[in-house]
C-alpha cells in the first residue's frame, strides 16, 4: 500500500513538473511553434538524404533504407523524450560543478526524480514528431505494434538517460569532466545515424559498451521490424541494469557533493 502511494506521489510530481515547464515554454507561443517546426523539417530533410544515399548504395552488409527509417523512428523519439523532459541530466556535470544541486538537495522531493524532470527544453520534442511521422509512414499501425513502438521508445530513452546519468555522476568522483560529458552526448547523438552492420573490431566493441548505440538504436529498431522475445529480454535487461548502475553511482557520489556557493533566484 505504501509503495502504491509513493509511486502515485512520484507520478504526480513528474506530471506537475512537466506541466509547469510546458506552461512556461508556451508563454512564447511563436517561439514554441517555430522551434518545433524547424526541428521537424530538418529531421525530415536528413531522412530524405539517407533515402537518396540508399538509392546509390541499396544495401550495406544487409542494412537497407528501411532499417535506417526504423532506427530513426525509435532512436529520435527516445532522444527527444530525454532531451525534452530530462534536460538537467544532459548537463548534470555542469550542474554539479556549479553547485546547482543545492536547490534539489534542499527540496523534500526524491532527489534524482526532481533533478531529472526539473527543466524542460521543449523544442527537442520536434524530433519526437519526426520519429512518429516516420513510424506512421512505415505503416503497420496496429494496436499491438503501436504498443510495442511505445515500449521500445521508452527502453531506448531509458538507456540513453542512464548513459548520460552515469557520465554526469562520474563528475562527483573525478571532478571537472563537463566537456567529456558534452562530447559523450554529442557522440551518442551523431553516431546513431550510421548503419551498425558496417562496423567491426574495436569500433563494434565500443558501440556495444562505452557508447551503447547498439542498445539505444539498433536492437529496438530490429525488434520493431521483427519481434523477438529473446532480444526484447536482452534490451530490458541491459536498460535496467545500466539504470541501476547509473543510479547507484549517482547516489554514492552525492555523498561527496560539495556546494558551489551559487547564488541564484528561482522564480
Amino acid at each position: 500500500m505504501f509503495h502504491v502511494l509513493a509511486a502515485k506521489k512520484r507520478i504526480l510530481l513528474i506530471k506537475d513538473l512537466i506541466s509547469a515547464n510546458i506552461r512556461s515554454a508556451m508563454e512564447y507561443r511563436t517561439n514554441f511553434f517555430t522551434e518545433i517546426s524547424v526541428v521537424f523539417i530538418v529531421d525530415m530533410g536528413l531522412l530524405w538524404l539517407w533515402f537518396i544515399f540508399f538509392k546509390e548504395f541499396p544495401s550495406l552488409k544487409g542494412w537497407i533504407f528501411l532499417d535506417t527509417a526504423n532506427l530513426l523512428a525509435v532512436s529520435w523519439a527516445g532522444f527527444a523524450l530525454v532531451d525534452t523532459f530530462a534536460v538537467n541530466i544532459a548537463r548534470l556535470s555542469n550542474l554539479i560543478i556549479e553547485g546547482g544541486l543545492d536547490y534539489y538537495l534542499l527540496s523534500p522531493q526524491p532527489l534524482l526524480l526532481h533533478v531529472t524532470f526539473g527543466k524542460t527544453l521543449i523544442k527537442e520534442i520536434g524530433s519526437f514528431f519526426s520519429a512518429a511521422t516516420i513510424f506512421i509512414i512505415l505503416g503497420n499501425i496496429t494496436f499491438s505494434h503501436v504498443c510495442l513502438y511505445i515500449l521500445l521508445i521508452l527502453l531506448s530513452a531509458l538507456t540513453y538517460y542512464s548513459c548520460l546519468l552515469l557520465v554526469g555522476a562520474l563528475t562527483l568522483f573525478i571532478g571537472h569532466i563537463e566537456r567529456v560529458g558534452n562530447i559523450y552526448e554529442f557522440m551518442l547523438l551523431n553516431l546513431i545515424f550510421y548503419p551498425q552492420t558496417v562496423f567491426s573490431g574495436g569500433l563494434k566493441v565500443l558501440m556495444y559498451t562505452v557508447l551503447p548505440i547498439f542498445f539505444i538504436g539498433t536492437v529496438p529498431s530490429q525488434i520493431l521490424q521483427s519481434f523477438s522475445w529473446y532480444y526484447l529480454g536482452i534490451l530490458i535487461g541491459f536498460s535496467f541494469t545500466l539504470l541501476f548502475i547509473a543510479r547507484f553511482v549517482f547516489y554514492r557520489g552525492i555523498r561527496r557533493y560539495e556546494s558551489g556557493n551559487l547564488l541564484a533566484v528561482r522564480l
Binding site: T30, V42, F57, S59, K61, F193, S200
Partner: protein, 272 residues
C-alpha cells in the same frame, strides 16, 4: 584615410583578434578534449566508406578512392565544426542582457569587432582539430592526397567560408532585436550545415541536379566545397567556388549591415 590611421586600426583589430585567440587557448585542456572525437570520426568514416565502396563494386566512387573519400568527409567535418559560443549566441546574449547598447557605442565597428574575435577563436580550435584528424587519417588511410599548392589555395576558400559563416550567424543573432528568441533559426542553420553541408553523406552521392543545388547553397561553402577542391585540385572548381562564396558573402554583408543599422534604431528607441 592616411597610413597612420590604417595602421592604428589594424593594431586595434589585431588586438581584438589576439584577445579572441588567447581566450580560446587559455583552456588548452578544453581544446584537447575534442581530439578523441575527431579521431573516432576518422575511424568510423574509414569503416563506413570502406563497406560502402565494396558495395558500390569498385575501388572508386564518383572519382574518389577510399582514401580521398575519407579525407573529403573528415576535412568537411574539421572545417565546418561549430565552436561554442556561436556568434549568434553571443549577440543574442548581448541583446538580452542589454550590453549591446553599451558595446555599439564603443570606438570600434561592432560588426568588425565580432569578426576579428570570431577568427581569433576559430583558428586555434581548427588547427588543433586539423592536426589530430590528420594524424588519425595518416595512420588509418595513408598520407594526404593533396598537393601543397592546392592546400594553400584551399585555405583562401576556407577563409571565405568562415567569413560567410560569420555573417550568417551574425545576421541570425541580430534577429534577437525583433524576435523573442532568434536562436531557433541559428539551430536551424547549424543543423542544415550538418545535414546539407556534406557532413554525413558526401554531396557527390546525390543525383546530379540535387548536388548542384546543394553546392550552390551557403551550407556547402563552409566545408564541402573547400574539401572537394582540395581533393580534386581543379582550379576551375576553385574559381567557381570562390565566385559562389563571394556572392553569398556580399549578400550576407548587406543583410547583416541592414539588420544592424535598423537594430540600432530599435535600441535607441527602447533605451537599450
Amino acid at each position: 584615410m592616411t597610413w597612420s590611421v590604417i595602421c592604428k586600426k589594424a593594431c586595434k583589430y589585431g588586438a581584438i583578434f589576439a584577445t579572441g585567440y588567447q581566450s580560446r587557448t587559455a583552456y588548452i585542456a578544453d581544446l584537447l578534449s575534442r581530439m578523441p572525437l575527431i579521431m573516432l570520426r576518422v575511424w568510423i568514416s574509414t569503416q563506413f566508406y570502406g563497406v560502402a565502396l565494396s558495395v558500390w563494386g569498385g575501388a572508386r566512387f564518383g572519382g574518389y578512392t577510399l582514401q580521398t573519400l575519407v579525407y573529403l568527409i573528415i576535412f568537411v567535418q574539421v572545417f565546418s565544426w561549430q565552436n561554442h559560443p556561436r556568434i549568434a549566441e553571443v549577440i543574442t546574449e548581448e541583446i538580452q542582457t542589454g550590453s549591446f547598447a553599451y558595446t555599439i557605442n564603443r570606438p570600434y565597428s561592432y560588426i568588425f569587432f565580432h569578426y576579428c574575435s570570431y577568427f581569433g577563436q576559430q583558428i586555434p580550435a581548427m588547427v588543433l582539430r586539423f592536426l589530430s584528424a590528420l594524424a588519425a587519417l595518416i595512420f588509418l588511410v595513408g598520407a594526404p592526397p593533396i598537393a601543397p599548392g592546392t592546400f594553400c589555395a584551399g585555405l583562401i576558400l576556407l577563409f571565405l567560408g568562415l567569413s560567410l559563416d560569420f555573417f550568417i550567424s551574425f545576421s541570425l543573432g541580430m534577429l534577437s532585436l525583433w524576435l523573442e528568441n532568434a536562436l531557433a533559426f541559428d539551430t536551424l542553420y547549424q543543423r542544415m550545415l550538418l545535414f546539407f553541408g556534406g557532413h554525413y553523406i558526401p554531396l557527390d552521392a546525390m543525383p546530379y541536379h540535387i548536388r548542384i543545388v546543394l553546392e550552390c547553397l551557403p551550407f556547402a561553402q563552409r566545408g564541402y566545397s573547400i574539401s572537394r577542391f582540395m581533393m580534386n585540385g581543379s582550379f576551375s572548381y576553385f574559381f567557381i567556388t570562390m565566385a559562389i562564396q563571394i556572392t553569398w558573402i556580399c549578400i550576407m554583408i548587406f543583410v547583416a549591415h541592414t539588420l544592424f543599422k535598423k537594430g540600432q534604431k530599435n535600441v535607441s528607441c527602447s533605451g537599450g
